[in-house]
């Protein structure tokens, strides 16, 4: 058909609006960290399974029985191997992101500040209670800033508490700051819980915002950015 023939060559010249949303360092850090985070949580739960308590060994009172299927490593020693290998990737990619954000000044776009507090509820109401969409004139809305800033906090917290658990003799002063070696283990677990709370919300948002949004975290280029429409 004539119209089809006419369209064919147009395909190569068809104009598509794209915006470069995520520099490669951010994307690389994101995906390395995503993989590492899954491994750290899975192996961490397997390690916790060896002594699922925050109390004394004698008498031992288990808090939970974490299903084997949710864990990585097969046994305590295997889980420790995963944990002690991926901790470098986890911390390395986290540092890569933080240093990049600091160096470029991009941290200002994403850091949650007191002035963002008032914007959190309207945004949450929009997403979860079908409220009106608040006007957003910044790269990230207050709810996003809260979520992303929290992950940095969880990352720093899990790293520092992990250092204390791994090397309590070397980092005795850090243990002291956390309220002692026992508390380091509790905070380490709490930071993991923070990530576990973040991940489903993050995935739901990614699903809601569609393929173009997801793909921009892969190649950096986002097709048809919403702020132009």
């Amino acid at each position: 058909m004539a119209t089809n023939v006419a369209i064919k060559p147009a395909e190569t010249t068809a104009a598509i609006t794209v915006s470069y949303e995520h520099p490669w360092i951010v994307r690389l850090a994101h995906w390395l960290n995503a993989v590492a985070l899954v491994v750290m949580i899975g192996s961490g739960l397997r390690i916790f399974r060896a002594f699922p308590s925050f109390g004394p060994k004698t008498p031992q009172q288990d808090l939970v029985d974490i299903p084997r299927q949710l864990t990585i490593g097969g046994w305590l020693g295997g889980a420790l191997q995963w944990h002690f290998t991926f901790m470098w990737i986890f911390v390395g990619s986290g540092l890569m992101y933080v240093i990049y954000q600091l160096a470029t000044g991009h941290w200002r776009q994403v850091l949650f500040t007191p002035s963002d507090i008032k914007g959190v509820w309207p945004m949450a109401r929009h997403y979860f209670l079908f409220g009106p969409k608040p006007a957003v004139d910044a790269a990230y809305n207050p709810l996003q800033k809260l979520a992303y800033t929290s992950t940095i906090f969880f990352g720093v917290a899990s790293t520092l508490t992990g250092m204390v658990l791994y090397k309590p003799v070397q980092f005795w002063w850090l243990a002291w700051l956390m309220g002692g070696f026992h508390f380091a283990r509790i905070w380490h677990f709490a930071a993991m819980c923070g990530f576990v709370a973040f991940i489903p919300g993050h995935l739901v948002m990614v699903a809601l915002h569609g393929w173009n949004n997801f793909y921009s975290m892969v190649t950096g280029w986002k097709r048809d950015p919403e702020y132009l429409g």
């Binding site: 794209v18 994307r27 993989v35 901790m87 470098w88 950096g220």
Partner: protein, 296 residues
């Protein structure tokens, strides 16, 4: 649909992401900026500008977008490298490397001479609540009357040593934390001879790399020499002011507050100073995959 076949003929080629800050600068400079970035594009039209965060916005053809995406995808190759862990054939070798690297970093970056925290008597856990941890039997049935410590390897005075000879050395008593790999810890009271004193007594070559220990229950361990020379490392024969009981490793055990629990070999039978570790003699748990260094 309309997006796929628009009438517009504006074409702007690939932009380098590294030059993002250029795009942030201003809209009016976008033309020269584009020409700087263009390798192949002849007629660069004005770009629409920048997004709310200053990110560059381009109008491109499908082919260009494909090329741009592919180029950006290549920069994520290191993520694929991590994917090697998903291949069963490579997995264990990679994990062994990771653990090895962590052990190396542990020994390299931390003060091996740093003293472990000591605690007041009020912080010590009561003896009844100090756990008995063992891998096979809590009491391997050592004949405490006839017991001697066999000393071998790179020492000037090898042979059999009686407990009295070890007890004759200056006695150290310390309240230190015992940390188990499982996740629990307990502060205990330990008494014994400094390992360094005993190594001097037997004329050990302290430039050697390892001390290997084998135990009455078949357990075995190996410790780096630097840790053996640490002032808090004990050949421990007392807990809570009483001779070691059988469950805690009578008559002699290692007590190293700078090492994790599974390295604190109990029911010591033989020690050997050496420079070479047999691959399957690094330690009972270490040979199954635990960290060899085990430093705290």
């Amino acid at each position: 649909m309309s997006d796929d076949h628009p009438e517009e003929r504006q074409r702007v080629g690939e932009s380098e992401p590294e030059q993002e800050s250029q795009a942030q600068r201003s809209a009016q400079s976008s033309e020269e900026q584009d020409s700087a970035q263009q390798e192949e594009e002849e007629a660069a039209a004005a770009a629409p500008g920048a997004g709310p965060a200053g990110e560059p916005i381009r109008i491109v053809t499908r082919a260009e977008r494909k090329r741009m995406n592919r180029r950006e995808l290549l920069k994520l190759v290191p993520v694929l490298a991590v994917g090697a862990f998903a291949i069963p054939k490579f997995r264990q070798a990679l994990l062994d490397e990771g653990l090895h690297f962590s052990d190396w970093a542990s020994g390299e970056f931390f003060g091996r001479r740093r003293l472990a925290q000591t605690f007041s008597n009020s912080e010590v856990v009561p003896f009844e609540r100090f756990p008995y941890n063992f891998y096979d039997v809590v009491d391997p049935g050592v004949d405490l009357e006839k017991w001697t410590l066999t000393v071998q390897g790179l020492v000037q005075r090898p042979g059999e040593y009686k407990l009295e000879q070890i007890q004759a050395l200056p006695k150290i008593v310390q309240n230190t934390r015992h940390v188990c790999v499982e996740g629990w810890d307990v502060i205990g009271n330990f008494g014994g001879a400094r390992a360094s004193d005993f190594l001097r007594l037997i004329g050990a070559d302290t430039s050697a790399r390892f001390l290997e220990a084998t135990c009455a229950d078949g357990y075995y361990e190996s410790i780096d020499m630097e840790t053996m020379l640490h002032p808090q490392t004990l050949f421990c024969y007392e807990m809570y002011g009483k001779p070691l009981d059988r469950g805690h490793g009578a008559p002699l055990r290692l007590q190293m507050p700078t090492k994790i629990g599974y390295k604190q070999a109990k029911y010591l039978d033989t020690i050997r100073v050496s420079n070479v570790l047999q691959h399957d003699m690094r330690g009972y748990w270490e040979d199954q995959g635990y960290s060899w260094y085990g430093g705290l």
